[in-house]
């Protein structure tokens, strides 16, 4: 398997044993069919075969991702290819199921399926300027890639219902208060902090120790 992958939407490389999956279609890093094709290759084939000891997911330039391309989604649905949607959902779930620590380094806009991807990561480190939200209900849709269930897991049922049905955006401070993100940092150091956290988890990584790793990250700083 190649150690690097350079696509139109995604890039993958391993530096210092840590795998970096970057969304490289700035400014918004939208998630269209081409994105999911490349994402599938990286998540289902390249990462499991790589020697990376941790995975950091981030967006290049200003934003994490502003989510799905509605027109593209509608085209898929018109062609009755809902299997594609199932397989997109399964890719996000596969991220959650990875045995290595998976950290989302979030800055700028992280909306819709962008936030759903971040929610499938094991940790979310977030920049102070981040804007998050699941706005699908305001377009007459629902978050379709597991966002509802993952949000419930972190923020609780009541807050998840409220946020999904309101569909409005929220900032990093609120996201932290509602336990949707784990830590908030100045945007310049978010990826650096993610790498530091990755190293802390390595060796004997257990998801249930999440709080301990985050505590150690705080102490080291």
């Amino acid at each position: 398997m190649p150690a690097t992958f350079t696509g139109k939407k995604i890039s993958w490389e391993v530096r210092d044993e840590i795998g970096y999956l970057s969304l490289v279609d700035p400014p918004e890093n939208r998630m269209d069919s081409a994105f999911f094709e490349e994402f599938g290759v990286v998540v289902n084939e390249i990462i499991p075969a790589s020697a990376a000891i941790a995975l950091i997911i981030s967006g290049t330039e200003r934003h994490f991702s502003s989510g799905a391309e509605l027109e593209d989604l509608f085209r898929i649905i018109k062609q009755e290819k809902s299997d594609v949607l199932i397989s997109n959902f399964e890719m996000f779930h596969a991220v959650d199921q990875l045995k290595i620590p998976v950290i989302a380094a979030i800055k700028g806009v992280c909306i819709g399926s962008g936030l759903e991807l971040a929610l499938h990561c094991h940790f979310r480190l977030c920049s102070e300027d981040a804007i998050l939200g699941l706005p699908e209900s305001s377009f007459g849709l629902i978050p379709g890639l597991g966002g509802i269930s993952k949000l419930m897991e972190f923020s609780g049922k009541a807050k998840a219902i409220e946020l999904v049905l309101k569909g409005s955006h929220f900032n990093a401070t609120d996201a932290l208060k509602w336990q949707i993100v784990d830590e908030v940092y100045p945007k310049k150091i978010v990826v650096e902090k993610a790498a530091q956290l990755a190293k802390l988890c390595v060796g004997d990584y257990r998801k249930y120790n999440k709080r301990d790793y985050l505590k150690r990250l705080k102490i080291e700083a």
Binding site: L73, F74, S82, G140, I148, I161, L165
Partner: protein
């Protein structure tokens, strides 16, 4: 005898209200406090959210013990009532619209069991919670201990259920039994405001899909969830496309 209904169902715009109407303590005279068919018919008028509250100062102090002692003499009939009560709370729990409990005053026993079957619990700072059943050598009979354990974890739920201890609103927030703590007498206002904010401009179809997904998360395996969420998404997307083509 009086003929005052013990439960009032009313609708204000798109929000339905279920009021426990036996003040001041709002004791529940039977476990099946409303006919499930009556509630179903009410929901099917197309309300987008349901708020449950007590009339007056208190949410509910739970079962009326005097009535209970009478009812239990006919064991078979009481068992049937208890089953109906359980079916009723399961129905409320699984409703495909958000159900909000606006809690003030006391919220004990079966009253707490009703609140626990709701999706969102708003509570004012003066509220007291308890499962006092153990003091009468019984236990919460409407699934309350299990629902409590889902929120607090098994050990805190066992402590509360086995001790019968009363806890205040602040403690309930800390134990994640309630979701939002508001000032005295403000629970109802907060609940109605929240119900509006989460349902205004949202078609019932979208609300139902979101709530099914929420309910499925608790009961389904991930592969089943993926299938259901995708089906609902496709249906809503098709509808949205058709609308745009009109």
């Amino acid at each position: 005898m009086n003929n005052t209904p013990r439960i009032i169902l009313k609708r204000e715009k798109d929000v339905g209200w279920l009021q426990i109407n036996n003040p001041p303590e709002n004791y529940l005279e039977q476990p099946d406090f409303i006919e499930i068919e009556e509630l179903k018919n009410f929901i099917e008028t197309g309300i987008k959210a349901l708020v449950i509250e007590g009339v007056g100062r208190h949410f509910s102090a739970g079962a009326d013990l005097e009535k209970l002692k009478e009812q239990i003499k006919d064991r078979k009939a009481f068992q049937d009532q208890l089953m109906k009560g359980n079916n009723l709370l399961n129905y409320i729990d699984e409703l495909e619209i958000p159900v909000i409990a606006a809690i003030s005053g006391v919220c004990f026993g079966a009253g707490l069991e009703i609140a626990l079957a709701c999706d969102i619990r708003i509570c004012d700072e003066n509220v007291l919670f308890a499962f006092p059943e153990v003091n009468h050598d019984v236990f919460p009979g409407l699934g309350g201990a299990k629902r409590l354990a889902e929120l607090t974890g098994v050990s805190a739920a066992l402590e509360l259920t086995l001790s019968g201890d009363m806890i205040n609103a602040e403690k309930a927030l800390e134990l994640q039994i309630i979701d939002t703590l508001v000032k005295k007498n403000e629970a109802k206002e907060y609940a109605v405001d929240l119900a509006g904010k989460i349902t205004d401009n949202r078609p019932l179809k979208v609300i139902r899909a979101v709530m099914s997904s929420v309910n499925n998360s608790a009961s389904m395996r991930v592969d089943e969830q993926i299938k259901c969420d995708t089906e609902m998404f496709v249906e809503l997307a098709l509808e949205s496309m058709n609308k745009n083509n009109d």
